[in-house]
């Protein structure tokens, strides 16, 4: 059965900056929107400080020094270049690739759950090594609606791992959606 895999890059803009500036590793990093208006990407360390998506820079600036926060103006040329590299690399693993956003793609894949899990790990390792980008989660399902509803994007224990969602049984009574079980 053809399945759709969802691949995205973990805090893409911050990761792209880190790929070229290793000193940013382990530090809270945010990337600001046009004209340095507000935080559009937060590294996990910045999220842990309670910085929200879209928080305006003028509110964060007074505490930046105390936090050791690195705030960067967006470098869209860099992000576009890295995105193109990630998409080209992902395209090596599937003949059907849909670029969904600057840091997300959908891939048509086939195989047993174990095969798909291995494929997810291979893709994650290739992105890390060849481009220096951490791919966050990879969920597979038979349609994208299920992926977007069920992919455990926000569950921290699955971050950075390949995730395969396999059909368990019957619909979930609360949502009416098929129930999917996450396998590590």
């Amino acid at each position: 059965m053809q399945e759709i895999a969802h691949v995205d890059v973990n805090c893409f803009y911050a990761s792209a900056e880190r790929a070229f500036n290793p000193k940013l590793e382990g530090r809270p990093v945010i990337v600001l929107s046009n004209n340095d208006g507000c935080a559009v990407t937060r590294s996990p360390e910045a999220k842990a400080l309670g910085i929200g998506l879209g928080d305006p820079w003028f509110k964060l600036a007074p505490r930046a020094k105390e936090w050791g926060l690195v705030a960067l103006s967006s470098n869209c040329e860099l992000y576009g270049d890295i995105s193109a590299r990630v998409m080209e690399l992902l395209g090596r693993y599937s003949a059907w690739l849909e670029v969904y956003s600057i840091d997300e793609a959908l891939l048509g894949v086939r195989g047993s759950p174990k095969h798909l899990l291995d494929l997810g790990r291979t893709i994650r390792e290739a992105c890390r090594r060849h481009i220096g980008m951490p791919v966050r989660t990879m969920g597979c399902a038979s349609c994208f609606r299920i992926i977007s509803a069920e992919c455990p994007k926000s569950s921290p224990h699955l971050c950075g791992t390949a995730t395969i969602l396999t059909y368990q049984r019957g619909p979930d009574t609360s949502t009416g959606l098929p129930l999917w079980r996450a396998e590590r």
Partner: protein, 101 residues
């Protein structure tokens, strides 16, 4: 002649890195030169690599029985011995040097 085609074998994994400092003078890599670094290449004995050591540095990588050496091609810089390749974060392998003559 298309220099992109000649110099870059895997555009997705290739980056151009500008060198600062004289630690690789002996390998013909001078301050201000650009290196074509391919992250897809496996580092081998004697490769010139961009390696993370707090910051990105360029070193020769002799792999010996005693371990892996980060070797500068300049006598003023001492060798750094690392027990195993796995302990290094190799950022990429330098494939070419664009030297200013």
């Amino acid at each position: 002649m298309d220099l992109n085609e000649h110099l870059i074998k895997d555009a997705t994994s290739t980056y151009v890195v500008r060198v600062t400092g004289d630690s690789m003078e002996g390998a013909g890599i001078s301050d201000g030169d650009e290196l074509i670094v391919n992250r897809a290449l496996e580092p081998r004995d004697g490769s010139v690599v961009a390696v993370l050591d707090g910051e990105l540095t360029v070193k020769r990588l002799p792999i010996t029985a005693a371990g892996v050496v980060l070797h500068a091609e300049n006598l003023q810089y001492p060798d750094i011995l690392v027990p195993a390749l796995a302990e290094l974060v190799i950022w990429g392998v330098a494939a070419r040097c664009l030297h200013h003559v």
